[in-house]
């Protein structure tokens, strides 16, 4: 958004407004994706965080419920007695997005490597995209389940963002099922869809707005 009086480059304004907290969700998600992928942007955010942190003093303390730590630990260390590299490994990527994500795992007791189904959603978005991963077949099947098709001259581009790594384009979501061979869909990975020019981002890096996303997690 241009602002004649603001005098701040858009990038910097986005960083400042992200820290301030006023942005709508879609722009917050864009900022969060940039923090993860662009060190310069991340450092703008850190600078703004440092400038505004003095306001943190105004947050009053409040005592959380007594069993809170227990709840957190049982979530993080589900099998404390039998230490095992559980789901938490790698589940960290973009947990910011987890509030948007509806991720369904089959019950943990079911046979090895359960299938994963995730619905990619975003606030104010009619668009919903379902992604199902079958580890046996090594295939991710993606389908638009709600909302309009991309407009003329545009495409929905699907990105896989393994934790701490750059987004990789893995396909364009048009009508019908999109089947993508995928050796693994690690927990903690993010699936996201951006709106791009027809044929997908010309640069290999997302250029359009982030529409919907889901983080693969479980428990």
């Amino acid at each position: 958004m241009s602002d004649p009086a603001g005098h701040m480059p858009d990038r910097e304004a986005l960083a400042a407004e992200y820290v301030l907290g006023t942005l709508p969700l879609a722009e917050r998600l864009t900022a969060e994706a940039l923090i993860a992928s662009d060190v310069n942007f991340a450092s703008l955010v850190a600078d703004w965080q440092a400038r505004l942190a003095v306001l943190d003093d105004d947050y009053k303390e409040a005592t959380p419920p007594r069993d809170m730590l227990q709840r957190i630990e049982s979530r993080l260390f589900p099998e404390a007695a039998r230490p095992k590299r559980g789901w938490l490994w790698g589940a960290g990527a973009g947990l910011a997005l987890a509030v948007l994500a509806l991720v369904v795992f089959l019950p943990p007791a079911t046979p090895p490597e359960p299938a994963v189904t995730a619905t990619l959603t975003g606030e104010g978005q009619e668009l919903a995209v379902q992604a199902s991963y079958d580890p046996q077949a090594g295939a991710l099947t993606v389908r638009r389940t709600a909302g309009p098709a991309a407009g003329a001259g545009q495409d929905y581009e699907l990105w896989l963002i393994p934790e701490g790594q750059d987004a990789q384009s893995i396909g364009l979501v048009r009508d019908g099922d999109l089947e993508i061979p995928l050796d693994t869909l690690p927990e903690g990975a993010t699936l996201a869809i951006t709106l791009e020019p027809q044929g997908g981002s010309p640069t290999g890096v997302a250029t359009g707005p982030l529409l919907v996303a889901a983080v693969i997690s479980g428990g």
Binding site: R51, D57, Y59, K60, A62, L69, I72, L95
Partner: protein, 191 residues
Amino acid sequence: MTADPISGLIAATANADRGAFRELYSATSSKLFGVCLRILKDRSEAEDAMQEVYTRVWLNARRYDSAKARGMTWLIAVARNLSIDRLRARPAAPLNPGKRAKAETGPAADPVAEVADTRRGPEDEVIARSEAQRVVDCFGTLEPERAAALRGAYLDGSSYEELSLHHDVPLNTMRSWLRRGLQKLKECLEA
């Protein structure tokens, strides 16, 4: 910079030290719960958010860089960002300026004074005081209403929409107000 014990606990947590994680929890959970409660204004949602906050702290502790932020500043940023994301992801409730925007998310009456009079929390002992004072002074150079809006936005996680209703100005006006306020703050701090 003085010693920052919280920072040390985050570093130990990054090495999967569960004991350190517990210590970190007891040292910081009241403050972070206060953050979640103030932004979400709903106890059970704040409790859910707390679980996510500490889950994220455990998982992302290795991304914390003590050269860039005090431990408490980083933790509060995690709690704020997560709570604001949750707030924004809520199904859109009809905004009622008479009720919600004013009663719950409106900034305090004299925020500049409040910034200036801010009670020193324990974490302040580890903040370089002169730096904090400079920020407070720079807030003081902003127009009162603009400082109020900035402060309300930061502390309560108010959206542009809520702020524009509360201050009774168009949304884009509010946005350029706040941008100018931020810009002025930055210039003052760099002066």
